[in-house]
Symmetry: C2
Amino acid sequence: MKRGRKPTIDAADITRAAIAVADAEGLASVSMARVAQEMGNATMALYRHVKSKDELLTLMADAAMDEPPPLPDGDWREQLGFWAKAVLEAIRKRPWFLQIPISGPPTGLTSLAWLDSALGALRDTPLEAGEKVGVVMGLMTFVHGEARLGVTLAQGFEDDPAAFGSQYGKVLREIVDPRRMPALAEVLDSGVFDLDDVAAAEDVEAEFDFGLHLFLEGVATHIGGRA
Amino acid sequence: MKRGRKPTIDAADITRAAIAVADAEGLASVSMARVAQEMGNATMALYRHVKSKDELLTLMADAAMDEPPPLPDGDWREQLGFWAKAVLEAIRKRPWFLQIPISGPPTGLTSLAWLDSALGALRDTPLEAGEKVGVVMGLMTFVHGEARLGVTLAQGFEDDPAAFGSQYGKVLREIVDPRRMPALAEVLDSGVFDLDDVAAAEDVEAEFDFGLHLFLEGVATHIGGRA
DNA sequence: CAGGTTTTGCGTATGAGATACGCATAAAAG
DNA sequence: CTTTTATGCGTATCTCATACGCAAAACCTG
């Protein structure tokens, strides 16, 4: 039998409590004290099961994402598109996920499951293993980045609804000197940045779709030149 | 004339000092006290010129990037490729740049200059303004994400050289159950993840090039369907 | 130049947060 | 029942950001 006093909590419990706090009050509110209080324990009790707060954050990141949904029937392109949307959706459920500083390549079970899922979509393509990884990494990078942008904007909008939407265009017009930045000024004149609050959100969505389209188009071309 | 005591420092000085600290000791070492010491002032003196540490971080982010280099002659594709490499290089000079939490769309002069530069590469293409922005945002997203990955790995390598390189493949093999993650297991068997320390760095570089290639290929196809 | 006004430099103090350390306690082993 | 071992957690320390208020400097008016 195992010696010593029986643990009343484990790392998973702590991670769960921490996630509950982050979901309810944001990642900034996740302190060792707050998490301990959430589970009715003393602060220092947590350190028996978690080496440091950094480690806890890593555990949170692993546990934050849902399991990847099963891919729908279809070719690799439809599947990867679906996958990218699913990643985006999963991140949107836990916006704080992107605030956790990453410490290395993924080793968490859930992250790996997502990776596997995306690689599965490419199974029937003639790509080499390294290329598949490249495609998936590139796509994940894009989705994460775009999600970060969306979440950041949504955050900024919450903080100060008045200062958003069409304000960005206005602000830029004051800063941008058409002589120094002609291309930007030109785009600015086209009104792309003058969106009201509602349209801005849709725009982020559209931008995501567009970027996704471009990337997958590139993959298709690459595969085409190979088959 | 302006009333009152003459300022001996300004926000730009503080930003410079903060950047010097970040360059030398990393962003984690940037505290108000440390920055003040760096410039031979008292801690609280800084607050006359900077509202909060967050504001200082934003200023640092704006000032961290070099001016965008002039684009070489060539078509949009060569230019965007060059631009992406230049962004990557600029970030590599200041790895801490990516650790600064972003608070909204870019308004710093330097960021806007980079944006303008990329849009300039697309000037002669038949894309609409919104599409140009989409292309550039997508590309920037990708470059930032990939840079983050590279920097993170380099960081991890510094922290513990032994635990890297081919270790990642080994670790994965212990975690991955081929029944639960068949596609990942397959890729794993191909040995893509078993790189020695040196090759890993080159691999990140190659992955960047590959992803960049895919994205630009997608843009090219998109433009082709339009011209 | 004296006095008033305004703005800066900065010492002191507060409060949050991470975490080292050590003791008391619970549970298994002998 | 004593010894061993691992846990729960109170106390204490250290690092930081930052509010507050006073004093010094530089301008203004008379």
